[in-house]
């Protein structure tokens, strides 16, 4: 555990006066089956370290079930918290049923029914409460009969617990929009001996040691922050002594360390970790001071390589500084420097990047090479609230974009546009799109007119609101389907006036008239709704300057008083004429 997560460090952090680095704050209601108060300072400290002021209230002791079924008795509906976090253990909520399970020798119907009551309660809470809900998994019981070191028990406790765990995860998976805090996995990671404090349990109904409470707070804060924050998108990798041991230019393909034995196995396992992240949609790039042919030969010909050339979105191999390579990678992939994580074994390179590109997260290969494969786990940089189909396909789409760029150089612009066969489809979103829309709303920085961030439940509410239209855009061309890459949120202000609350496009489709096609399609939809006027707003941020003139370029006139932009729907609607783009528009069927 890193020092910045130790109980001592966290408590010291709380004692140090902070200048508020951001105005962000979050209200959290904690309800637990045991005394949760000691968790509060650690949770506050973890949020503080992220620039968020957390206001935390704790519910009464061991009333999780009552809370779920009757939340209105515990929280004020008029001033609800942003997050409700429930941390519970089966031995606290249903000690009798658990005891009976041991007697009967199985996960019995009685215990199932009791678990169902919690799930029903959660469903009821989900219906009543609009914010984020975090629920723990039941941890291995700290209960007589469940100890791991009793001979002759036939692993009865373990078998019962496994049945409970499986049942619970099936039930909870059916509940939509509930975040899981895997307390059992955390317990497994640290071990019951480290986590449990029997003295505190018996005296204060508080089962855990301070060090474990601090780790619980770390996990919970990550889960909550992942709901609001965008994650890093790309890992940039050095090659020599990072992806393999040794130096390819000197040792040659037969001489580098990569394979089943130490130390080659370490690098192979590290590559497995990277591959796993890649499968989740994280991009991989290479920045290496080498001859390109040497490096590519390893990717293509070395039997023990887990990563292959096709897994890498961008190669920057040459003799330029890593700073320049990183900048080029960000530019090629059309993502910000603050989306990059850079891994290198050379401290000098790392120091230079840290100094000149402070937005990039830098990781140095560990001195203890055996710890290296797990270096990215638990960092939180790739936490995502929810994986979407687009994430899984992103890597493939990025490669298509690179092929397209290479081809574009040999055609005239007009020829190129025709050859692209660009298609834009704009439609009102259904529940199935909400996860992806939320993700775009929270991570799109560059082409984003207002940069209003919203949680998933807020987007859901807008979808249901009669006054709003939440629109999404799919883009494809002959090189591939980019999926859902654009979002527009419209609000009917009065009669025939529609306000563009949100307008954004993922940067991977920019620069091919997609922006114009999108605003024109939006105007078309507003027209179908009987609207006549569009009102747009530009809210500048550090990153969206490229959209500053978007409205003026698309026929909107500035309103001197409000600073907003006004246009007639009929004018904006016709902007798509002359575009080489096949546009389709689908309003939702009115029921």
């Amino acid at each position: 555990m890193s020092n910045s997560r130790s109980p001592q460090y966290l408590k010291e952090l709380l004692r140090t006066p902070q200048k508020p680095s951001s105005s962000e704050s979050t209200d959290i209601y904690l309800a637990g089956s045991f005394t949760l108060d000691p968790l509060v300072p650690y949770l506050k400290a973890h949020f503080l370290a992220e620039g968020v002021a957390a206001n935390i209230a704790t519910g009464p002791y061991n009333q999780v079930l009552q809370f779920c079924h009757q939340p209105e008795s515990y929280i004020d509906k008029a001033a609800p918290p942003d997050v409700v976090c429930l941390i519970w253990r089966i031995e606290d909520v249903y000690p009798k049923a658990l005891e009976n399970a041991l007697v009967e020798g199985k996960f019995q119907a009685e215990l199932k029914i009791e678990l169902d009551r919690i799930v029903e309660g959660l469903a009821r809470l989900r219906e009543w409460f609009q914010g984020i809900i975090v629920v723990s998994t039941p941890p291995f019981p700290q209960f007589p009969g469940f100890s791991a070191n009793e001979v002759g028990q036939g692993q009865l406790g373990a078998r019962i617990f496994q049945a409970i765990s499986e049942y619970w995860s099936e039930q909870i998976a059916a509940l939509r929009q509930t975040q899981t805090f895997d307390l059992q996995a955390l317990l497994l990671l640290h071990g019951m001996t480290t986590a449990h404090d029997a003295r505190k349990w018996y005296m204060y109904r508080q089962p855990y040691r301070e060090i474990f409470l601090a780790e619980m707070a770390w996990m919970v804060s990550r889960i909550i922050l992942a709901q609001k924050r965008s994650a890093r998108k790309c890992i940039v990798l050095d090659c020599d002594n990072t992806l393999w041991g040794g130096i390819i230019g000197e040792d040659g393909i037969a001489g580098i360390q990569l394979g089943d034995d130490f130390p080659g196995r370490v690098y192979r396992d590290f590559q497995f970790q990277l591959k796993r992240l890649h499968q989740r949609g994280i991009l991989l790039s290479v920045a290496s001071k080498n001859n390109p042919d040497d490096v590519l030969a390893v990717f293509n010909n070395h039997d023990a390589m887990v990563l292959r050339q096709a897994d890498i979105s961008c190669f920057e191999i040459g003799w330029e500084s890593k700073v320049e390579s990183l900048k080029r990678i960000a530019k090629t992939l059309n993502i910000g420097l603050d989306s990059l994580v850079f891994i290198d074994d050379n401290r000098k390179e790392i120091a230079e990047v840290e100094l000149r590109l402070p937005e990039v997260v830098c990781i140095t290969v560990t001195d203890e090479i055996a710890d290296f494969p797990m270096i990215l786990t638990g960092t939180g940089w790739f936490d995502q609230a929810q994986m979407t189909e687009e994430d899984r396909n992103r890597a493939g789409m990025m490669r298509a974009a690179q092929i397209r760029e290479q081809e574009s150089s040999s055609l005239t612009e007009e020829e190129f546009k025709h050859s692209l066969a660009l298609r834009l489809s704009v439609f009102e979103v259904d529940p199935q799109h909400v996860a992806r829309v939320t993700q775009l709303v929270n991570k799109t920085n560059q082409f984003n007119l207002t940069t209003i961030r919203r949680a998933q439940n807020e987007i859901e509410a807008l979808v249901l609101s009669g006054q709003h239209r939440v629109l999404a855009a799919n883009v494809s061309d002959r090189y591939g389907d980019y999926g859902l890459v654009g979002v527009g949120i419209l609000e009917q202000q009065s009669g025939d006036i529609w306000f563009i609350d949100t307008l954004l496009l993922s940067c991977r489709v920019l620069g091919r008239d997609v922006e114009t096609a999108l605003i024109s399609a939006i105007a078309d939809l507003v027209d179908q709704e009987g609207g006549c006027k569009l009102v747009g707003r530009f809210i500048p941020t550090l990153k969206n300057s490229q959209t500053e003139h978007f409205y003026s370029k698309h026929g909107f006139q500035p309103d001197r008083q409000s600073g907003d932009w006004h246009a007639d729907v009929s004018v904006v609607k016709t902007l798509s004429q002359g575009l080489v783009c096949d546009i389709s528009i689908h309003a939702r069927q009115k029921t």
Binding site: Q8, T35, D37, P38, R199, Y202, M203, Y204, E210
Partner: protein
Amino acid sequence: MVDRVVKLFAGVLGVNEESLDDASSPDTVSQWDSLAAMHLVAEIEDVFKVELSTRDIMKMQSIGIVKTVLIEKGVLNRDML
């Protein structure tokens, strides 16, 4: 000379150091409830690098007794008080 034990109690209980002395107990300090007792144990163990038994903890019904327990455990020097 700052009394480390009193300082610790004042910090956890959120009261003035001057309002506490060896006779202070859960009966005389309203903030010293069972939740505070739990925080006090955590803080004492952290600051004095000591592990208290449940028997020790049950005994600790005044600041004076806490000092005695810590002196017995060899983590607090009587002369330093």
